[in-house]
């Protein structure tokens, strides 16, 4: 197990290297001078030169890269040209709403998708299975922001049951107001992922149900509900949990777009606003933070998987 943990952790190095180079290069693929683009047309040459100096743009590229990575490793993510406060502070402020939204979306998607996936697997080939397949197909094909807009139209504009946009944190308005502000965005975000989750749950259940030991149970005369609950469900739970874990990351990045629909001041909105004013250092910091989170979550999931399933350990990457 130790060897597996070490081996898997070492695979992070090239991935993180590529991630960091890609994110570093984002600033440099821009045509023209990034400092000039950042400051806009009205900036004087002296201002541009000062910013170039501050951003270290006068050094050769490899030196800039090493400086940037060195800064990141020391926890210095750069400075925003437009916003006050340290980058860490800016990111932390915007991360709260995004994490809350993502958390609710994962919860809703799981509560919706896992039972449906199990239902479909249990009734394979029957009407219920087909209905669930159609639901999951629609989920996969519906862009989250579109579903968000349609939900706003129905529940906020037509029925006026819920607020159209805005975000209330638990500290500001209490739990109920918090939930009211997040329920529509969480449904919009969660539904797209539930499509995939339904499919994965269904196929994980089917795989277990078709295995030899289930056939053996049947032959021994174990009751169908006993087989289902005791053996099938328990053994497919690992795959289902993996899907839920992975969905967290998908939804975290999907939140970017949904936040804009509902005016939630999370990292998505921060990114979009920074893109519109070309605040490169904020964009770099956000993309880096989310990517590193992604890589780490994958690592944890893989390690957990290795802990539970010895075959994953032995096979390494190829399994």
């Amino acid at each position: 197990m130790k060897k597996y943990v070490l081996k898997r952790t070492l695979t992070l190095i090239p991935v993180l290297f590529v991630v960091s180079v890609a994110i570093f290069m984002l600033v440099h693929i821009a045509p023209g001078d990034p400092a000039a683009a950042l400051l806009g047309d009205r900036a004087s040459q002296a201002e541009i030169d000062a910013l170039r100096e501050r951003m270290g743009l006068n050094d050769p590229l490899p030196v800039q890269y090493v400086n940037w990575v060195g800064g990141v490793l020391r926890g210095d993510l750069g400075e925003s040209v437009f916003m006050q406060g340290s980058m860490t502070q800016i990111l932390a402020e915007h991360m709260g709403p995004t994490l809350a939204l993502t958390g609710w979306a994962v919860l809703l998607a799981t509560l919706f998708a896992v039972p449906l996936g199990i239902l479909a697997a249990k009734n394979q080939g029957r009407l219920a299975d087909h209905l669930v397949s159609v639901t999951s197909m629609v989920g996969i094909s519906m862009p989250s922001f579109l579903l968000g807009l349609l939900l706003v139209l129905l529940f906020a504009v037509q029925l006026q049951w819920l607020p159209a946009w805005g975000y209330v944190s638990i500290r500001e308005g209490g739990f109920l107001a918090h939930l009211r502000s997040l329920i529509l965005p969480a449904i919009a975000l969660g539904f797209i992922e539930s499509g995939l989750m339904i499919r994965m749950t269904r196929s994980a259940m089917l795989e277990v149900l078709q295995s030899d030991y289930i056939r053996m149970c049947k032959a021994k005369g174990v009751s169908p509900s006993g087989i289902f609950l005791k053996h099938a469900l328990r053994n497919s739970l690992i795959s289902i949990l993996t899907v839920v874990g992975q969905s967290f990351m998908v939804l975290l990045s999907g939140a970017t777009v949904v936040e804009t629909v509902f005016n939630i001041p999370g990292i998505g909105q921060l990114t979009v606003n920074s893109v519109l004013r070309r605040d490169y250092e904020v964009i770099q910091a956000v993309v880096l933070l989310v990517s590193v989170m992604n890589v780490l979550i994958c690592l944890v999931l893989d390690l957990l998987y290795g802990l539970i399933d010895p075959r994953a350990r032995a096979g390494g990457e190829g399994v």
């Binding site: 090239p14 922001f145 807009l149 990351m249 920074s274 893109v275 994958c298």
Partner: protein
Amino acid sequence: MEKQSRQDRRALEKRLRREQRARMTRKFLHNKLAMLGSLMILTVVLLALLAPVLAPQGPLENSVYDRLTPPSLDGYLFGSDNLGRSVFARVLYGARLSLTIGASVGLLSMVLGMVLGLYASYYRFLDNLIMRVCDGLSAIPSTLLAIALMASLDRNILNLIISLTVVSVPRVARVARSAAVVVREQTYIEAMRSAGASSTRIIWGHIAPNILSPVLVQSSYIFANAIITEAALSFLGVGVPLPEPSWGNILYEGKAVIHKAWWMIVYPGLFTAVTVLGLNIFGDGLRDVLDPHTN
């Protein structure tokens, strides 16, 4: 004598290929998913092609007196937008743009991903390099990477296609590589190598045709995904520049007047959802048709 036998063999090969094609077509025509998906896509493509006929007033022509008119059969079919332009015309012309962008991204990713995947599978030293770069790029969430790329590049359609392709290529490359690795180990490839065939001939003549099915299926999903991401980027205001209509752009403008004009959300939304659904259903059908196990 030898010439005769060579001609016979060619004729036989030709006949076999023809039969295989006919069998595939039959299978495709009998696959309900593939047909349903094709029908949905073809409908949208047809409407997009006929845009100048169906909506002669064009997507940019506006009349200030007709702002935000609700849909009606004798006036604006899909209503008019905040500047008094026909939403019907904008949705149809938007279909042209969204489909062109989606198809270009699908095609470009397919070609690039296949090249990368094939060479990665064939040369060990390239394998590590290419696949690690792909791993790294796919570790960055795709929508976020596309947004960040658009922040650096100028906002135009070509750059949008480039950004979406960069995001999609690693996915195709991975599928292509894993299929090619299986083919590479087959005995006939070994035989060709020992007979002295050049690498290029083996890669393009014998491995590439055999990995086409999974790559094709993956590309149809990429096509669908590119339409979603393009709509999302345009909706965020970093995709197709205004006033050019794309489905995401119409939704972007619709959001501001959502309390007054539901038609600016519902119609472009319907077209986006139907197209993406059609492509996904088509992809599933294509996978069944091309998979030899489902004969």
